[in-house]
Symmetry: C2
Subunit: 147 residues, 2 copies
Amino acid sequence: MAKPSKENSPITEHLAYLLAQANREINRQLELRLSKEGVPVEQWRILKVLSDGNGHSMGELADAVLLNHPTLTKMIDRMVSDTLVYRVQDPNDRRKVLMFISDRGKVLSKKLNSLAVDQEEHILESYGDKSTSELKRLLESLIDSSN
Amino acid sequence: MAKPSKENSPITEHLAYLLAQANREINRQLELRLSKEGVPVEQWRILKVLSDGNGHSMGELADAVLLNHPTLTKMIDRMVSDTLVYRVQDPNDRRKVLMFISDRGKVLSKKLNSLAVDQEEHILESYGDKSTSELKRLLESLIDSSN
DNA sequence: TTGAAAATATTGAATATTCAACAATTGAAG
DNA sequence: CTTCAATTGTTGAATATTCAATATTTTCAA
């Protein structure tokens, strides 16, 4: 009897593929909601991180919002033009730039958050409370174990 | 006592964010392995799907490998240049193009699969057998419930 | 049977991302 | 101190992706 070889297993059984597929779908749904305000998902993330009111350096932000540095720089350029955020040179380390959220940014951030919460609630309904929290727990632990 | 509002919850608690983060990390690891053969993750997916030896239309492929049509067309153009795959007009529906894997593609696909299996095994080690299969189960069910 | 609508794939222009090089500042070793 | 390496952020060119428009074929209703 031939033992089932992982090499022949369909792509749909690979964790990497399942993650990509789930991420694509959930992201698509979130995108759809945020498009009501004409804002890409990454900008929601940026505003959300900055809405603690503190200054965050570009490097810190890039890590937090899952973008690499040049991409973030250019996205921030756009957001500065839209007066959603602003740059301040870090007085303690003048290599760094500290990003802050503006008042306009705060207003937008609130709207985006409620759209995002809408989605989470929609997931909770169709997918279930228990599965959702279990999935979150497992994802956190996967991320931890990868560092 | 103020009830904790989801709007103020950190971004790291959102399912959409956790999925994006996990996907990014796992994908990065896979990319690293596949780069040994100089092949992007999407091409591995394409070769894997085509390695059943059947012809697959572009639309079918695009769905399976999570790319939209124009992006797939251009990636396939490159793979045709590299003689990894080839196009055949579908005789039953001449709007369609059927993609097939070449012999060279099959050889490469084997190498890529073992690199991908390496990664899965590495995940199993650091993350655990049980967590992995449970996570896969939950992801599949999330994907199902989103359609 | 004909003609309009739908399905399929590709193209080219517009947009976005990435890579490598750069500039500025800080840290740290001698 | 001084100098050299490391850190931080940005830029420009190269690459990749996306959107809208197109061409071709099929479907289906009249």
